[in-house]
């Protein structure tokens, strides 16, 4: 029973990682930028979610508005931070991104205060008896699992069934070829940042539900973990990202119980990362 509980806890954590890492993978696939500042959008999502839920009383409304607003902020980040330096060496964008991320934490601290915010009346805190088995799951945790699934199905449909989605895949595969077919790559990039940022915002709202707390630094650890995940999965591979996210969630969940005296949770995640990379330098599903 303990194993099953640990597994489910791991999958919930893995779902959060997936939602965050998807945006990173999309950006890397398109622009070869390690978009560390992505986690700033995750934190923004958490704050907006709590503030809007408290203001309107509706989690659903707050979620939708938060995703839209954060998605647009994400497009702004691309325009201001990355577009001007796309043709510079790769470390330039990486450092700019880290700088933007650290600055964002400070800005959140100045605007929202250092101690964080909570829901006035935290929604979805009820527990569900899973399949009548005596296994209990919080509603919020179920939301994470369902939300992750929905995001993956939605992305799949978007990229296979819609014109803009097909243009997007074409651009990821071969930007020059896509441009020569008349695809407006600039629009595709904006779409990319919109979707990735909106998903990160959803993850932010969900983490706020799970912990009933948002704080300026809530993005740090997920940010570094998400970087580890997209590298683990084989950068640019959505399937690899999913596998790596879930694997990392589960490994952390078991590792904290069995290796907790030796390493803390983050160290377990990064030890796993280093071991996998030494074995497969291109990541789990990456091409050599």
């Amino acid at each position: 029973m303990l194993y099953l509980e640990l597994l489910i806890q791991g999958l919930v954590q893995g779902g959060i990682y997936t939602l965050i890492a998807l945006g990173l993978t999309l950006v890397y696939g398109l622009l070869r930028i390690l978009h560390v500042a992505h986690a700033a959008l995750f934190t923004l999502g958490g704050y907006l979610g709590v503030i809007l839920t408290n203001a309107t009383g509706s989690l659903a409304l707050a979620m939708v508005v938060t995703m839209l607003v954060t998605g647009m902020v994400g497009m702004g980040v691309y325009r201001v931070a990355y577009q001007p330096i796309l043709d510079k060496p790769p470390y330039v964008a990486l450092i700019a991104s880290i700088a933007l991320f650290i600055a964002s934490e400070e800005i959140y601290r100045l605007i929202f205060g250092p101690y964080g915010l909570s829901y006035d009346a935290p929604p979805l805190q009820g527990v569900i008896d899973l399949l009548g088995s005596g296994m209990y799951l919080k509603q919020a945790e179920l939301l994470v699992l369902l939300g992750t699934g929905a995001a993956l199905v939605g992305l799949h449909l978007l990229s296979t069934r819609t014109r803009i989605g097909i243009a997007w895949r074409a651009t990821v595969t071969d930007p020059e070829m896509a441009a020569s077919f008349g695809i407006r790559t600039q629009r595709v990039r904006y779409l990319n940042f919109f979707i990735g940022s909106a998903l990160a915002a959803a993850a932010g709202v969900m983490v706020a539900l799970l912990n009933n707390l948002v704080e300026p630094t809530m993005g740090s650890v997920p940010s570094y973990k998400a970087l580890a995940i997209i590298v683990l999965g084989g950068i640019g591979s959505i399937r690899g990202t999913l596998i790596a996210s879930l694997a990392l969630g589960v490994i952390e969940s078991f590792g904290t119980i069995y290796l907790g005296s030796l390493l803390d949770r983050d160290a377990i995640a990064f030890a796993f990362l280093i071991l996998v990379l030494m074995w497969r330098p291109q990541g789990l599903l990456g091409r050599a």
Binding site: V92, I95, L263
Partner: protein, 282 residues
């Protein structure tokens, strides 16, 4: 006066630390997002060995050796992964270091190590010692850059595959860069331990790794005078103006962000362009 001496000592330690990363990232082109871990290994080694009775400054050599051993291991990983992957791997080593230290009682765990023996020198004497180390490391860096080792490092930073075609043993060169750079970081860590006499895992985290990287980048990757200048200024600024201390991170990050947008080759690059421009006009 005491405060100025403390500040100046911190600045000298920063110079040593920043130059150590400059050797790896600036000269040899191997990006590292976990360099504070080697500073930490040095600080812990110096703290524990001097508590165990090893005399200053011999414990600094122990600190250098311990950091170099870890640097060698991380350097091995640079033979497997490159560029962005190496950045993430080194970041991972940084977190791994913190995670291990936090869980080990003999390393003081979360509480860290306090009452580290002093150097036995006066405050002014210790400043003189730290300054001498900083000058020595700066001179060594300047020499190295112009030696055949620096020439080869620059080739590897430029294009590893071409470096192999001109018969360079790229793996050994990279390992040497990591060993030298991390050994110097270890010395910086040891100096730090005797300076503040209390260390805890919080002083060696990701933010510290980014801070030292920002010194190298603001200074201009690979430029010895640029990096020395940036290390001095970026250390002094927040300590001089207490107002800035609260906004230290915001200032750091804004500076770094603007630098990347406007001139990614830093102060060193600016100076180079200015002098070349002048030469062209005369």
């Amino acid at each position: 006066m005491g405060y100025e001496i403390t500040l100046a000592t911190s600045m000298c330690i920063s110079v040593v630390f920043a130059l150590s990363l400059n050797l790896i990232t600036g000269f040899c082109g191997q990006i590292s997002l976990g360099h504070a871990a080697f500073f930490g290994v040095g600080a812990y080694t110096a703290a524990l060995s001097s508590k165990a009775g090893l005399a200053f400054p011999l414990d600094l050599l122990a600190a250098a050796a311990a950091a170099a051993v870890f640097g060698f291991v991380v350097g091995l990983s640079s033979l497997r992964v490159r560029h962005d992957f190496l950045a993430i791997t080194t970041m991972g080593f940084g977190f791994l270091f913190l995670g291990v230290v936090r869980q080990q009682d003999w390393l003081g765990g979360e509480m860290g190590i306090s009452a580290i023996p002093g150097s036995g020198l006066s405050k002014l004497g210790y400043l003189g010692f730290a300054a001498a180390v900083a000058v020595a490391v700066a001179l060594f860096s300047a020499y190295l850059k112009r030696s055949w080792l620096g020439f080869s490092f620059a080739a590897i930073a430029d294009d590893e595959d071409t470096a192999r075609v001109v018969a360079l043993d790229v793996a050994r060169y990279k390992l040497l860069a990591f060993v030298l750079g991390t050994a110097i970081a270890g010395i910086a860590g040891g100096l730090y331990a005797h300076h503040v006499r209390f260390i805890s895992p919080d002083s060696f985290g990701f933010v510290e790794s980014i801070a030292v990287l920002s010194m190298v980048i603001v200074g201009g990757i690979g430029s010895v005078p640029g990096v020395v200048f940036a290390a001095l200024v970026l250390t002094a600024l927040p300590l001089w103006f207490q107002v800035i201390e609260d906004y230290k991170l915001l200032l750091y990050s804004a500076l770094l962000f603007i630098m990347m947008q406007l001139c990614e080759d830093g102060i060193g690059g600016l100076m180079r362009r200015l002098t070349q421009g002048r030469r062209r006009t005369t």
